[in-house]
């Protein structure tokens, strides 16, 4: 049974340890000391704890002043308010000023739950990672949060993003955190899944399930969004040819964007970014929300299938243009209704029209004629494999459509 703890607990413990190690460490709260777990530090070091009140602009600027005198301040609130409400103050007095303030944004992500969209920070990584001098971290679990907190003491300006909910604790408790290092948690060469925060665990679950379907996914935990580990990312792109990213953040400007920026410049491959798709959250239980917004292991699996289609057949499929062209009439697919199909685009059209009984005549427990045809007529093993995983009429149609889109794009290049 995996332990369950919120990442904020890891931060709270790390902060106490940091306080024991370094007397200059101070903590500032904006009327949320318990929620942010800063009250543990307060209990231990009451004279080094500062209650600022509900005033986030003051929170970060007072901290900037304290840092100038030699303190190492950790400022804490919900991420929608800090950095949210005080982005300019952080930019000028912490980032540009280069003061070693650690901005801790709690309650980030959709999993904040019933409080609703106002309290679910989904844009904070975008705000923070565009600031020069700023280091940006998203711990995957409580252990990593504790380590990051300790490691941040020696750095300049930092942003640490934390979640509210209990999530699985699965990273190593021992050892120090390596700033700027991405961790390969699982080897694989078919696809790369990159996650940050508790979604890394979902990615691992998905990878285990995919393994059973003979898809070997490489899973990377990317806790340092900035400075980003280019080397590990580029190697993964080269080895696997396609990347899926998952995070509890807008896909615009978040970790997935950071990965896309690196790969598009150094080794372009298709990237599917999972996250919140340019909309606000809403009230609900964390479980319901993660499911609704598609951030579960099952969603990762689906994305991986799409990604493999996007990547193309790789070595098994030498001339992708073939897929769009018509095969010889001897190789045409013959539906039991008499209809003939001579290309993949034609197959998409046919599948949208054929009745279910005709479809299930060809694809059922005993056989899979469509998969067989793809294999024999086109030699497209990747596509054939996906058609053994996705076997409903709707799923097959979607997969084939995506293949056509991919082939068209490829042909257009």
């Amino acid at each position: 049974m995996t332990d369950m703890l919120p990442t904020r607990d890891g931060f709270g413990k790390g902060l106490v340890k940091a306080g024991q190690k370094n007397k200059n460490v101070v903590a500032l709260s904006a009327d949320l000391s318990e929620s942010t777990r800063t009250h543990w530090f307060q209990a231990k070091f009451p004279k080094r704890f500062f209650e600022i009140g509900v005033a986030e602009q003051n929170l970060v600027t007072v901290a900037a002043g304290m840092a100038h005198i030699g303190k190492i301040p950790f400022t804490t609130s919900y991420a929608t308010f800090q950095p949210g409400r005080c982005v300019e103050q952080i930019r000028t007095t912490i980032a540009y000023n280069n003061q070693p303030v650690k901005i801790v944004g709690c309650h980030a992500g959709i999993s904040v739950g019933p409080d609703g969209a106002t309290h679910q920070a989904l844009e904070d990584l975008a705000w923070m990672r565009t600031m020069p001098n700023m280091n940006v971290f998203v711990p995957a679990d409580a252990n990593e949060a504790e380590k990051i907190t300790l490691a941040s003491v020696k750095l300049g300006p930092c942003y640490i993003r934390l979640g509210r909910e209990k999530t699985p604790v699965f990273t190593e408790k021992r050892g120090a955190f390596e700033v700027g290092k991405a961790h390969v948690l699982k080897a694989g060469n078919d696809v790369t899944i990159i996650g940050c925060g508790p979604q890394v665990f979902e990615a691992m679950q998905a990878a285990k399930s995919l393994e059973k379907k003979n898809i070997k996914a490489r899973v990377i935990n990317l806790p340092t969004i900035k400075p980003i580990d280019k080397k590990t990312l580029v190697k993964a792109a080269k080895d696997t040819g396609v990347v899926v990213t998952i995070e509890e953040h807008q896909t615009l400007g978040g970790m997935g964007s950071a990965v896309a920026e690196v790969l598009s410049e150094h080794y372009p491959v298709p990237i599917l970014r999972m996250g919140i798709q340019d909309c606000f959250g809403e009230s609900g239980t964390p479980d319901e929300l993660l499911t609704k917004f598609g951030l579960r292991a099952i969603d990762v699996e689906k994305a991986v299938h799409k990604a493999i289609v996007l990547r193309g057949g790789g070595s098994q499929h030498t001339d992708v243009r073939d897929g769009l062209g018509k095969v010889h009439q001897d190789l045409a697919f013959k539906f039991s209704s008499g209809h003939r199909v001579r290309s993949i685009p034609e197959m998409v059209g046919a599948l949208e029209r054929v009745p279910h009984e005709v479809f299930s005549h060809h694809v059922n427990q005993e056989k899979n004629d469509i998969k067989q045809w793809v294999q024999e007529a086109y030699g497209d093993e990747t596509l054939a494999h996906l058609l053994t995983v996705h076997t409903t009429k709707e799923e097959m149609t979607e997969i084939l459509k995506m293949r056509v889109e991919y082939l068209e794009r490829k042909a257009g290049w």
């Binding site: 004279k47 005033a55 100038h68």
Partner: protein
């Protein structure tokens, strides 16, 4: 006893520096720096415990300029007190200069914090004063603020916090010149009664003539149990008649012609000192 004649001459010199810098730069703020020349002279040439040859001296008093846009008067005061060479003043706002359009920590000796965006100077000063008290240090923190930036919520958040920590090592000086970009402060967003406001927030507050160097020095050195605000009543554009009290001069530099005229007026005033 401070040599008042010497200090008044220095304030005049700083005003002339400001005019020359702004003409050379071709952009920047004029009224504020001229209005605050006496306050800066009082600070840098009498009040402050500082060592221009050792800007990071650990026992120094800290100075924060919250309304960063009046930095020409800060730069001139730093240069005239020996932080860097006077000739560098003419690089204001130029590419590669240490004299950025708004002050930047790390660029120039004597700049304790980056500023420009209004409203966050007092709170940084509060943070410094708290940290100094934690360390039982005697350094004082002086923060210069404008009346216009009292429109900012962040300013009032800081004013609320300072008395909680009994920051009697904190002295704020307001450039109460009654103007801001869009017009008179009381028309844009009424601030009065400022003294009563500060007092009701549990600060000690007094009003001084911002051009009376002796009075400024006395106010700065007063001992108290509370954080202190000195409302310096100043005339924007002070010393250059055609700029005085005209908010049009808030954010523009003199042309070379206007600069010559301004310097002539300042020379005339100097002769009378």
């Amino acid at each position: 006893m401070p040599d008042l004649k010497h200090l008044n001459l220095m304030a005049n010199t700083i005003r002339q520096d400001v005019v020359e810098m702004l003409v050379e730069a071709g952009s920047g703020h004029t009224a504020g720096p001229l209005g605050m020349a006496d306050v800066f002279t009082a600070l840098y040439f009498d009040v402050l415990n500082h060592n221009p040859r050792k800007p990071m001296w650990k026992d120094r008093d800290y100075v924060l300029l919250s309304n960063g846009h009046i930095c020409p008067v800060l730069y001139a005061s730093l240069a005239r007190s020996g932080y860097f060479a006077k000739r560098e003043l003419m690089t204001l706002r130029k590419l590669g200069s240490r004299l950025q359009g708004h002050p930047h920590r790390g660029s120039l000796p004597g700049i304790e914090s980056t500023s420009g965006p209004l409203g966050s100077g007092i709170s940084q000063a509060v943070g410094m004063a708290i940290a100094l008290k934690m360390d039982k240090k005697k350094n004082r923190v002086f923060v210069l603020t404008s009346d216009g930036e009292h429109d900012e919520g962040n300013t009032w958040e800081a004013i609320l916090l300072a008395p909680k920590h009994k920051l009697n090592n904190l002295v704020a000086l307001m450039d109460r010149n009654h103007i801001q970009i869009d017009g008179k402060t009381e028309d844009v967003l009424g601030l009065e009664p400022l003294k009563k406001k500060y007092e009701s927030f549990n600060w000690e507050c007094e009003v001084v003539n911002g051009h009376d160097i002796k009075a400024i020095i006395k106010a700065c050195n007063k001992k108290s149990k509370k954080p202190r605000m000195i409302l310096c009543e100043t005339v924007p554009g002070k010393g250059v008649k055609f700029m005085e009290k005209k908010y049009e001069w808030h954010g523009k530099p003199p042309s070379p012609e206007e600069g010559k005229k301004a310097l002539k007026l300042l020379e005339k005033a100097r002769a009378k000192l």
